[in-house]
Symmetry: C2
Amino acid sequence: MQDDLHRFKAGIFQALAHPSRIAIIELLRDEGKVPVSGIFERLGLEQANVSQHLAVLRSKQIVIGRKEGNQVFYSLRDRIIGKVLDLLRQYFEAHLKEALDLLKDMKTDDSLA
Amino acid sequence: MQDDLHRFKAGIFQALAHPSRIAIIELLRDEGKVPVSGIFERLGLEQANVSQHLAVLRSKQIVIGRKEGNQVFYSLRDRIIGKVLDLLRQYFEAHLKEALDLLKDMKTDDSLA
DNA sequence: TCTATATATTCGAAGATTCGAATATTGTCA
DNA sequence: TGACAATATTCGAATCTTCGAATATATAGA
């Protein structure tokens, strides 16, 4: 059971573990309710790609989509997820220097790969 | 820059996205400071595997290890990470029913795979 | 120094994730 | 009904993650 809870949490984190999905969540947090077209236009992503990311978020029930006529409007299912992101922003600011170094590392790793 | 922050957050979530790593973090949160041997004994994991997970957590600076003689004692670098896990426990409780269904899905997916 | 203990790293196979391209589905309006 | 618009799904290649096995490194004590 302890392990079940660990799996549950890990599953949520996994769903959050992609920059585009974070961007989607923050957009929904800020705007409340956005159609898919609004998401991919605002974020400059491919339609299919956004649909795939939304499928991941839906599968973990982080996000819900409601049909309205022709479109599907997405929103966060629970404000707590927004709070988690806020905590991480705090964390980022508290360790700004090291966080920036970390980002730099990620980039150079990418460019060397 | 917005995108950098998204990458940073995604990187942290990725580091948290594994049941064993969650277990390690919760152990450190509860006990404060634990040697590697204490971690793998308490969690029933392989030594090498725990070292690998610790390497992931170290690379994102979620955890720090300090040598004391023969051993390395690990602890959380910042209480905020513990708070993130607490929020998720709240989240789990708030959506207990669906969360349990989700867990069931994960299991059946596993067993069918 | 030799040996034992504690931890970390490297390797390779199995599995998971990601993306764009192509295609399917659903709803609207003529 | 047919044509279009919005969204979702499937496929396959590239990339990343995970694990145990084997090996490396570091410290302590005889």
